[in-house]
Point group: D3
Chain length 294, copies 6
């Protein structure tokens, strides 16, 4: 009985959050450890399903790095990286697409459906969802900057929201693989963070939630006490300019900035290694991770 | 943080119940202590609001006994009871209507709205919601049974569900006062239990939940160990016939039987003195109180 | 047969009015003798029902003065008036609400339904229809003006038209009791004239018709020959400023002015003591009473 | 003022009829003197417009006999009649169609629109509204019966109600010329009475009203005291069999019988020479003419 | 088999045109030889039906010159022409209306339906589709210009597109006879070219196609090598001003100019003597005739 | 010009077929050479796009045999076949899914979109489209029949048509990869022929068209003169029973039989090596290949 009372108490505590987010669009960038560890996987899937049932409109965008590398290895493809971006020839992008769309995406869709959601997987080719163009790598060498063609690495040109609204209005959860399509029909592998940001912007989402493998942003990431729970858009821009945000965190923060500029309400960089981190962000007063807001 | 984790854990535990009851109609008979004690009142209102937000279609039917008596007293009206039913002359039914519709109903509607629901109050006169006829008191005297006219005490002839569906489909919670209207336009005071049962039957509700001031049904109500958590329709009928269900519990159990026969999925007699008893019934595996089922 | 021919002739005469008002919103302030005299009552109810059947969208706002006083007396409450407004403590507003919502409103709804309409009663609490705030009494004493708190007497802050449109679009006639709800959930008794004007303004009604106990407005109300059948908004404002409109007529004329400013097409102050005065206003060329127009 | 009071009184008297016929389909066979006399014409047009405004769904089917003859004469065509039916060669049916569709129909449509209706003219060719086949004349000669081919005189095979419902649901009044189309695309002139009956049957109309140039049906048409105001379907069949209904009245009574069998509620043979006879039938208790009912 | 392969090849060639015009409105002015020659007639009807089936929204406006003259002759009416316009008294316009609406329009509607379309005929009186006013003839005499009243010859005041959209949205093809209605209900005979242009403008049609009896426009119409396949609006205006476009071609070019100014995408003057000229214009790269474009 | 005339002539010849199939559902099994040869590929894609534009509701189901084998080889997986079915372990089904969903499906979707369709790819996991169970191989050995478990080879249990109707009603072409999902979420590789047949049956399609690498069915497949252009369901069953249909043709004919039994109108086995074979089947009188019909 004690347990039951707790259940009731918690539900009542979360009611104000349900009321705030009723009917709102929430884009979730799903990636990192939360896609590998099977317990974390289940927890994310449950969280998304719950968002749907309490009346939100969740959309999932996923990445797939390690799985792609592992399949490339099986195929005996070696990959070179320039400025942190994989040099992507036609065979490589084709394998990346196969893995993202035919393996990772179908698995997420399947898990959601088995937990009682109605999910539908999409790549950027479905209904021309993600129109893309080539993204050049910026190489700094001998004091000079050059833009290097690294193949089928893309950036988003535009998002066609029609198919998303058709599916969401009929009760489905769209699950998006970050493959874009160019104007000659060629495939592009795109950083999933950026895709999530563009989708959030195009839909004017209430929230963009990015699952990462860190706790959030630190003013000085070697000093755990400098953790930042809320950051303004301007501060975020400044920290990138000053170099105090580094490495893999840059695309995430840039994505938040882009999404906010596109009309998204709030953006959150949260720790996907924490079970049910999405619920912690949405249904508790202290939240979790770092939010970047206007 | 520990608290937050619990929140997430509890939400996930309740997800299967949200999925089961999504889009389902739940009729709540609201009465007894839960209408008097202000803490209990808030807890019921929160429970109903939460049902709405997780996708159910709640409808509230309320009684109002003590408040009516108190106003009658202020007016200096003395009331006689025959076979447990209040002899109800025209002035009495008019006062009852005033109290039920103009005081109790507006208060419940107001509380729901202040908690973020969109509630609309209805009496049986609104859109002819409750068509009623005179209910006679059954008097056993000197071994003879006679039907005695006790004035404007009514029973339900039919429920016009149109206005209920119009409101629910537009996102409102209907709150119903148990006043019926006769074919000459006269008002009838009707036992709220019966009204709730008829409404649940007419809508083919998934659940009828009756808030009472007891824990539920006992096989022998003097023996606390004989508590019954689940009862079949046939057993319930038998227990009434055998006299093992007594007094004020009879209309409640009869209501459950009637609602089940009318197509309601499950009926529950629960303890309204227990805070959040509605949530305990719906969102926990052990439930609460006694269920009467087919 | 002669009778029948007259019937046909009259219907044809009224056809142009039916065409003019087809699909238009008409707000009727119902009060005064027309609410007491039972023949007048029937006549008003028939008029409103007819408006509905010939394609208009009628909405009723009612007052309830004398009935409230009579119930207050039965309760032994004495009431004081300041600047013509009843000093209204919590018990008084509660009684007023009970009478307005639980007695007068239900009676009007019931009469409409018995005449073949589908009416639904609303108070300002239903779906937060009438948001209100405290109205202070303006007291002139010793050459000084002060604002006196007289309790739960309110004025309209805003009208939530959603529930009105939901009901009208589904074929119902809304009947509104002039109880407003404050931001802490407290009830306010509001002058029904003002409520009618605010509702007409919020809906951009074609017409606001106010049933009163006088024939209309006189330039000099002691001179019956100075009757005014049409008054411009500016003239009306001037007459109030000059003091040539007096006493109980002021709120009515102010309501007309407010409604016109809010977008209502025409406003009419008509004599509710005249049977079928609403039809006389709408379906005859000379109309009845005084119209205030832009 | 006396006049105005009468107006109100009459409107109220007609309210019950408005309520009975709200949303109901009424087919009007328009013909005879009421199509020639310009005062009668206006009266019929006003009546139909009024039906529309008080919420009915009127449909007009018109004939056109004399006008056709007059145009045929201008063209120098002589016409022969066999068993009362015009022998109709290809040129004759073409002229009949031109007159019915291009003159009589457009005039009725135009009059309705000028009185504030939104009318649309249809012939049986529009959207294949009236599929028809050849109707042979029954000739009794020398004690033998033979079926004689008299050209393009048709009978209804089926009515395509789609276009009628499309127009009525969008607020238009369909006005139908009695030209049918055969399976090779040939035109047929059809008795407008029969077309009206078939349309009423196909739509399951509430009422079929046939405007004629007589007062109604007499048991013995030479005895004015033998007027029949109501006739059952069976009696009507018997009277035809017995020969007590004669000449031009036969197709009208047969049409009533057919319409009733097809599901029409009530049928009425009324005197179109009486101004506003349609209103007299619908909005007065004694009605007018003879009704044939199940 | 060779034939079949050609069929497939042609379908594929036409696919880009189907894609370009999917869901687009195309107004076709139907007149001239294509209305007389029965083979051409069938070809036009098939073309229009095909447009409907490949997803366009065709609307037909037809003329009827020679047929009107022939009926006028049968009636023994002589007609005078002033500045090329028929002097049109009341009887003449009535005959013209009869022929246009009751003969030519019904025939086109019938042909379309027999080919599998769902067509509905309209005159300008139906739902007040074409509101018109008197058009005066411009007479140049003795160096002076005067405007001469030639009776019921009209010009378009406005087009009520409601009935067109109602019919098209329900899958029907509207077929319009060029009869307008004046503010007193009088009929006007209007040049069908102008009606087509006004309809195209009012609907913001994608294309206006005018079937004529010439190949198109020549810079010098005596020099067959000076054929113009595309003309800008400005050039067209200039050519009229310079007198290099003459006679019957002027209303056609003016119509194109008017339609373009009203928002029509492209206008085409094509040779109706060429079988399937509509398809040639829409489904081949070289098109046919002269296009006038912005 | 000659060319243009041919274009028009062909369009008109195909009009009756457009009329017959307007709004009808056509399921296309896409496989064999038509998926490999790039010219054939384009021709199929154009055919499907054309079906959409002339008003049909096409759905594509594709196979993927050779591509799967080629990827399996790259991974160094050797595959064994039992009774013609690939023994499919977990890794194999995962690779098959990756290839079917992430490579073949995306390519078809992309081609359709580049030709102007709006296509969306689906696997059986999307919205639980294809629920499946294990299919055992039937092994005949030593005169005994045994059912052998060959891993994740599946058969269809049921098709959830909801997502198909949602997409088609919004103008999309669904493209389905033949991966089914079992009740524990496991993937099954299913013969695409069977999937196409089940989809056609579940939707009550008008037509099922199967692209193969043969001309159709021969009574004696070694005698080219014994070609069968139409076969009844019963004959087809007989021919299978008699062994006169052999090898790879059996699942195709069984699929036709199953689809017909499920309510599909007609089924067609056609030669995908013939460019535009789909158009040849639908838009020519002689059709192509062998039809199996009830």
């Amino acid at each position: 009985m004690k347990n039951s009372l707790e259940t009731a108490a918690v539900l009542i505590e979360t009611l104000p959050y349900m009321q705030d987010f009723y009917g709102k669009t929430v884009v979730i960038k799903y990636g990192g450890n939360a896609m590998i560890n099977s317990e974390l996987k289940n927890s994310v899937i449950q969280d998304i399903t719950l968002l749907k049932y309490v009346g939100m409109r969740p959309i999932v965008v996923h990445g797939g790095g390690p799985e792609i590398t592992s399949v490339l290895n099986k195929f005996g493809k070696k990959t070179e990286f320039i400025s942190g971006l994989r040099v992507t020839d036609e065979e490589t992008v084709s394998i990346a697409e196969m893995v993202l769309v035919g393996k990772i995406n179908t698995e997420i869709v399947n898990l959601l459906n088995r937990h009682g959601s109605k999910a539908v997987g999409l790549s950027g080719k479905d209904a021309n969802l993600i129109l893309a163009k080539k993204h050049f790598a910026e190489v700094h060498e001998n004091g000079r900057v050059s833009m290097v063609d690294i193949g089928f690495v893309g950036e988003v040109e535009s998002i066609n929201t029609n198919i998303l609204n058709t599916l969401i209005d009929s009760g489905y959860i769209p699950v998006i693989a970050p493959i874009g399509v160019g104007k000659n029909g060629e495939s592009y592998n795109i950083n999933a963070d950026y895709v999530a940001g563009e989708v959030a912007g195009a839909l004017g989402a209430e929230k963009l939630i990015m699952l990462t493998d860190v706790e959030g942003i630190y003013r000085d990431y070697q000093d755990k006490t400098s953790f930042i729970s809320s950051l303004s858009l301007e501060e975020a821009q400044q920290m990138i300019a000053q170099g105090s945000i580094g490495g893999g965190m840059i695309p995430k923060v840039e994505t938040c900035i882009k999404a906010l500029q596109g009309g998204t309400g709030k953006t959150h960089i949260i720790d996907g290694r924490q079970p049910h981190s999405i619920l912690l962000e949405i249904f508790t007063s202290q939240g979790i991770g770092t939010q970047v807001v206007k």
